[in-house]
Amino acid sequence: MTTKQLEMRANEIRKAIIKMLVSAGSGHSAGPLGMADVFTALFFAVMEHRPRNPKWEGRDRFILSCGHIAPVYYASLAYAGYFPIRELSSLRKFGTRLHGHPHNLETPGVETSSGPLGQGLSQAIGMALAARLNKERHRVYCVLSDGEQQEGQIWEAVMFAGNYKLNNLTAIMDRNNIQIDGPTESVMALEPIKEKYEAFGWHVIEVDGHNMRQIIDACDQAKAIVEKPTLILAHTIPGKGVDFMEYDYHWHGKPPKPEEAAIALKELRTLGGKIRSEHE
């Protein structure tokens, strides 16, 4: 896919997120919208995977640690072909395969179960160790939120990955600066994140989490780091693409109402037109 095609795909995924959330009537808005570009880069440019054969042994493993941004995960999986796009409207409803938080035994393409924060990086490490033991070449990608850095288990895992020099592991942090109770730096300050990870033996790359080329280049660069795991610190705008949601922590944990969704979708359609014309 070209950069323009990827940006268009991210825009489609944002629209799908809005539709899913308004239909579900509950769920998180800001995080999924903010991570649409990173997910698009991973699922449509960076990772080796076969949506028609979700358990293909050579696939890169993708672990979503912050399970609450499930809508962007499900939309990415659907657009990649793991299940029909129309199934997205079943999000959070009785009988669905798309639960409020991801569950590996239900959703094609989902590797683990997550939701309670701080657990994903450890599982990604387990998969990276297994790949190393088996001398397999695939990589393990783990998406983390910034708020979940407050969990102790994260730092146990960060310490382990640095100590074991897990160079087949790439973590990507959604640095959107918000969590449920407010800005991260006023709830429980996280900075300096880059220096903290570096002190634990990681290679850290900072990117604009809405710049497709930067995200893809950082993932490529991580493959060349042989002595360390890599953290891609992706600076994102929570609610990205929907003006009234951007930067507002109140949108962390709630869905849009139907009239708000209509406005959001209109904005995203305009944004789509802009992307199309910009590249022409």
Partner: protein
Amino acid sequence: MSNYFVKDYLDEKRIEQAPTREGFGKALVAIGEQDERVVGLTGDLSESTRMDGFQKSFPERFFEVGVAEQNMMGIAAGLALSGKIPFITSYATFSPGRNWDQLRVSVCYSDANVKVIGCHSGLSVGPDGATHQALEDIAITRVLPNLIVVAPADSNEAYQATIALAKYEGPAYMRLTREKSPVFTSSSQPFVVGKAIHALAGDDVTIITAGPISYEVLQALEGLSDRDITCDVIFCPTIKPLDQDTILKSVRRTKAVVTVEEHQIDGGLGSAVCELLAEHHPVPVERVGMPNSFGQSGQPNELWATYGLTRKSITDAVKRAIKRKSS
């Protein structure tokens, strides 16, 4: 029935003594030889959880996690979801104590094939005191869907159970002990997950027990002053899933039950038995266990005496249960 025991198993002076953790450690090396998928992880407790044998034999398949039980549980989940069979060891108070949420979500909910080995359970940890005496581990594990819970009676049964758990597909918790205890079960008996053992036949009361305290039950019965009382004894090393058929078959005949375990009286084997009987065949039940209390430092026998985990407590419970039957 009788081939469940070693010869002269009641001879306390001559019976072999070994901690259950030892049987585990030897078995892990044995299955490590047979199955390359087996990997071992520990949280800075390799020697005392008897992971050290595996560590020496298979250094490339051993992972020292450091003092980080939550991370250890998660790493094990990731390894299991990649086709490995991870055994993780620590003290039961830390794993599954400290990392219960990781056990619930990363392992059980995902149905990850992780074997959680909790050492140093029970009062017999002794001098370390209450913080290290795991007396709640059965309660917090048997409530989790997809998880099986195993408490071997001696080192031999721990050996057999370890082999069986490696072959069993799915999450499992096994509780082990530090202190030496009599090795009274016969190695000719294979361990079958979910199967209780009808160890002794009797008519007046069914005694259901698990863990090294099972041997105390046998000795207590030898010391029963009333020789007319006979007890049906069921060893129940798999606490979840409970072997309902074996238990109900016995209880329908005896119509009274005593449970004996080195665990809090609430939430453990005794509670599991009460749940079963309340639904299927209500009879008087007397539970011998830790009486809703924390322990303290001391020698195991001092602690057992203080908290009522003695042979006399067992025989008293037997008499009470029989008395309640007729009242």
